[in-house]
Symmetry: C2
Amino acid sequence: MKRAVVLLSGGLDSATALAIARQEGYDCHALSVAYGQRHAAELAAAQRVAQKAGVAAHQVMHVDLDAVGGSALTDPRIGVPEAPSVGIPVTYVPARNTLFLALALGWAEVLEARDIFIGVNAVDYSGYPDCRPEFIAAFEHLTRLATKAGVESGQGFHVHTPLIHLSKADIIRRGHALGVDFGATVSCYQADAEGRACGVCDSCRIRREGFAAAGLPDPTRYRPR
Amino acid sequence: MKRAVVLLSGGLDSATALAIARQEGYDCHALSVAYGQRHAAELAAAQRVAQKAGVAAHQVMHVDLDAVGGSALTDPRIGVPEAPSVGIPVTYVPARNTLFLALALGWAEVLEARDIFIGVNAVDYSGYPDCRPEFIAAFEHLTRLATKAGVESGQGFHVHTPLIHLSKADIIRRGHALGVDFGATVSCYQADAEGRACGVCDSCRIRREGFAAAGLPDPTRYRPR
């Protein structure tokens, strides 16, 4: 059984990416990153999702990105926007997916895995540069040069992005068909300690519209405002 | 004054790279990474080097790479070789420079800096894949696609590698000419808590031969064996 490292934030997309990796027959090693994010409730969600999916292992790595800040998700002085943003929003975390993929790459190499799954999406998303196919292609190219496994085999690692060209509604339909319990996931940028969503941030808005467009019940727990 | 992020391990090479960045007129923000390395004494050395160089800031970021292991530097069960290795040695840390550059990239973007310095060297080195020019070029290419700053300006970040084509003796001569206090640096993979070197690991051997070839006194403090 081939091993894969699956980046698992605890949100809807990565839970679906994990279900796809499992369906494709991978022995999944889930990786979550505690990076000082405001919505730390997503880490508890990641734990629930990993457990339900029956992963081989779930690792939570810690990186203190809040020490550098620069994002509404890592600096408490920058508020999460409660209306749609123009351009790349302040919830962008500088170099986050480069960092996440670097951590996944290192763990994959240790596991002798050559496959990494990441639930990035370039359709119904927030405009983050590191969710686009050209970024993923550049990272894949790097993996052959960056690692012992890449140099010795002449082959890089495969970064799977099964959701990248899907709409949010399509992702939800796909996850639903695979039995993902979306009620266990947390997408909100400012979820409270119990994982209840604000209902108004970009991430909540895209998620809610996705369930509506998919014609499926939205199991998200919203907190009173 | 242009800002730069300078990766600073506390070893001889990164101390010299920092001195070069300072000489080139950069306002230097030094970044060290506590990644669970066996030779944590290098972090104390980084502190000394940063202070002597007069950096604008020195940040120590924490990443628990020891949770995944896979290297003699992060897994206490894998010994540091005390004789020259064939091929890429067990002191290789999977994806380490990809991770370090990702952290530097994120901080640089927050600082509105576009320059990163890393003291990698592809001549008298240990055969690590992520110290070679082709790896650095691939990472530089990635920076334009990975970041908000890259997308908005159409320009990537510049990863400066002033030592990449120098021999260890040349690096030592260059650092010496710039006033680097090599006695403050720690290169040894298994330095003790006081920063005293073992004298027999790959890193000690390359360093000692470098001082000899440069015709300069070796200020390294070795511990009794």
